[in-house]
């Protein structure tokens, strides 16, 4: 049964549409359309008008249904924002643990409802600040964490038994998570109580974000260890945040972002099942992370299609029975790559529109980029404006009054269907290659993204795509923006701090604990308990990661362009 109309009416609509178009063509033959081609930012061509005819195959109950009900096109919870607004979770990390702790307190006081941690490059790559490869990088794009002492300072005074924490960390995710669990336990908080997310999605690192340490297979093994441990020991934790964000930032189209992300989710599910876990034991703790890019409707369609597709994948492909396994719960970040260094105040407007499409798409949590993020780590003032943007959308604009307000729009429904169909085609291609691990080895997603990125850049250079302030409406004089500076002295202070931990700890115990980690890696034992023991004894991030590198080997970038 179609969306609203009986089938007979489609013929009438078709006729009427043709008539209307004939009239319109006469107008355009006198004065042509504004553009030769109207297309989305992902270069999907868009029709002049959408009618019920475009949704004729859409069975309301099967394709849309109700919020909180299969296939969840209209939202994962029945109440959505009528019950509770999305979590406003601003990604923050700068300089030392103490600097970032100050920023966290500021954001919580400004009304933020969840924490989100950005780490510096050495931490993200599993190096301590004193590593030769880490020279010049300490605290520059996030916070430096070498030891448990840093983790304790980072969350000092924050109610981690009540507020959830997201940590954007990938190759060393297991180690950072072990530090977080250890920090909670040292404070007397049970590991069963703490809630949050580790990104822990290595497949998209090989595909797009490119922070990697060990080769794909052992990387996925470590992830499976965290999934298993979380299922049994830390039940409120999301052990993977399956991420399309970075795939999109690297230049993919919307449908590629969707397809590659869900294909990664399929790969993690298969691994955990192979480990002997039941799908309904772990799948409810998988969460997702998407980009909200410039093209408003394309993004809304992507979010809605994502929910429907994952529900179908879990139900039909993996035979999950628990409705929570069918839920695609997701965090959204507005598109960093859409911001411009030119006329940076325009970024506030871009971010507001992108945040709005995430909300129209039913996100569970949201980070809004700061206007100066294209230049440096945000200042406190810029981060506050970005948070206020969410608060204005939530509490002034009236858009959270009803659930899935764009549901039933001929255009949005047609776009949602197309998104689903084309993404499933890409997933089929990946299945035919032998799954995502094999596809990555063939450089399939990497190459597709590189092609899409280059195509878009050419369109910008040829003025086919407008970037306000960059290739159109350019001004010579620009308002200066004040940016945040990271203190040059930070690096040596951090090295001193870690050296102090090293002299004060029991080195025989650390050595023994690291050996336990090594044994777990070489064998089949889950690494998490040995890791928690090692970091509690004062092992540094790099000391543990060096064990990983030794046992599993290192991965090098193939350098494709």
């Amino acid at each position: 049964m179609p969306l609203t109309f009986n089938t007979a009416i489609f013929e009438d609509i078709k006729k009427a549409y043709r008539k209307w178009e004939e009239k319109l063509n006469k107008v355009f033959s006198a004065k042509p359309e504004r553009l030769k081609r109207f297309s989305t930012v992902s270069d999907w061509e868009i029709n002049r008008l959408y009618t019920p005819e475009d949704n004729r195959d859409q069975d309301f109950m099967e394709q849309l249904g109700f919020p909180g009900e299969y296939p969840f096109t209209r939202g994962v919870q029945p109440s959505m924002y009528r019950g509770r607004l999305w979590t406003m979770r601003m990604f923050a990390g700068l300089g030392s643990a103490k600097d970032t702790n100050t920023r966290f307190h500021h954001l919580v006081n400004a009304g933020q409802t969840g924490l989100s941690t950005a780490f510096d490059m050495p931490t993200l790559m599993g190096y301590d600040t004193d590593a030769p490869k880490a020279r010049g990088e300490c605290g520059r794009c996030g916070v430096a964490i070498d030891t448990l002492a840093d983790m304790e300072e980072l969350f000092a005074g924050l109610p981690i038994d009540k507020i959830t924490t997201s940590m954007t960390i990938n190759p060393p995710a297991s180690v950072i998570w072990a530090m977080y669990v250890a920090m909670a336990e040292n404070r007397g908080i049970d590991r069963k109580v703490i809630g949050g997310t580790i990104q822990n999605d290595m497949l998209k690192e090989f595909i797009a974000q490119k922070t990697f340490m060990c080769p794909p297979e052992p990387s996925v093994r470590l992830i499976t260890d965290t999934v298993e441990f979380g299922t049994r020991e830390v039940p409120r934790w999301n052990t993977i945040s399956i991420s399309g964000y970075h795939i999109r930032e690297a230049g993919s189209t919307a449908v590629q972002e969707l397809a590659f992300t869900l294909a990664d989710g399929i790969a993690y599910t298969e691994q955990a099942i192979e480990r002997g876990l039941g799908v309904d034991e772990f799948a409810p703790r998988f969460s997702f992370f998407f980009n909200s890019h410039l093209d408003f409707f394309e993004e809304v369609a992507k979010f809605r299609a994502a929910r429907r597709m994952w529900a179908r994948i879990m139900n039909e492909r993996f035979k999950a029975e628990d409705p929570r396994s069918w839920w695609l719960r997701f965090h959204t970040q507005t598109a960093g790559c859409s911001l411009t260094a030119q006329q940076p105040y325009n970024n506030v407007v871009r971010t507001a529109l992108q945040a709005l499409s995430a909300v129209m798409g039913g996100t569970q949590s949201l980070h809004t980029n700061s206007l100066d993020e294209v230049l440096a780590i945000p200042t406190e003032e810029a981060a506050t404006i970005a948070l206020r943007t969410q608060q204005i959308i939530a509490e002034e604009a009236g858009v959270a009054n009803t659930i899935d307000p764009l549901g039933g729009s001929y255009f949005v429904e047609a776009l949602t269907d197309r998104m689903e169909a084309e993404a499933f085609e890409i997933i089929q291609k990946i299945d035919d290659m032998g799954g995502m691990l094999a596809a990555i080895e063939h450089n399939y997603p990497q190459q597709e993204i590189a092609d899409a990125a280059y195509h878009y850049q050419r369109q910008v250079d040829d003025h086919e795509k407008v970037v306000v302030g960059v290739n159109k409406y350019v001004t010579e004089e620009e308002l200066p923006v004040e940016t945040l500076e990271i203190d040059e002295a930070l690096e040596s202070l951090q090295i001193e701090k870690t050296n102090r931990v090293k002299t004060e700890r029991n080195s025989a115990e650390v050595k023994e604990r690291l050996e336990r980690v090594g044994e777990a890696c070489s064998g089949k034992q889950n690494v998490m308990e040995p890791l928690i023991g090692a970091v509690k004894a004062g092992a540094t991030l790099q000391e543990v990661c060096d064990v990983y590198r030794k046992v599993f080997g290192e991965y090098r970038d193939p350098g494709i362009y």
């Binding site: 790559m125 490869k133 494709i560």
Partner: protein
């Protein structure tokens, strides 16, 4: 008639930063412009970049950094080239570079910095004007 060798350029990603979208787009644009292109891939130390540049006999190195470590990494490459007697290799850079760092980097010997939004054509024509086979 003597055939002039094509310009050889290296696109390099120093440091731990993984943002390679820009670097890879630039590498393609150089290739499409007719240059010979060497792309180092990610996570290179300044030492590795300089060694590879000398081995590959390039005329220019384009450094890309988007995670804030350019202040250390870019000058380190220039200094190492000087130590190796290869400072006739032109070094330019691009990425997320705040305005206040531009002058310092130029003084350190980075010949040109391309910040976000620079059209590919502009970068390619700069190379054509400023770099010739050594």
């Amino acid at each position: 008639m003597e055939h002039k060798r094509r310009v050889r350029v290296m696109v390099a990603k120093p440091g731990l930063d993984g943002h390679d979208r820009g670097a890879r787009i630039i590498a393609r644009a150089y290739r499409d412009a007719g240059f010979e292109v060497v792309y180092t891939g990610l996570h290179q130390t300044p030492e590795e970049i300089v060694e590879a540049a000398i081995q590959e006999d390039v005329d220019m190195i384009g450094l890309s950094s988007l995670a804030g470590a350019h202040k250390y990494l870019f000058p380190a490459v220039v200094n190492l080239l000087r130590e190796r007697g290869a400072d006739d290799i032109v070094v330019c850079g691009g990425g997320i570079i705040p305005d206040e760092d531009l002058e310092k980097l130029k003084q350190a010997g980075i010949k040109q910095i391309f910040t976000p939004g620079t059209p590919l054509e502009e970068i390619v024509s700069w190379v054509k004007q400023n770099v010739s086979p050594r």
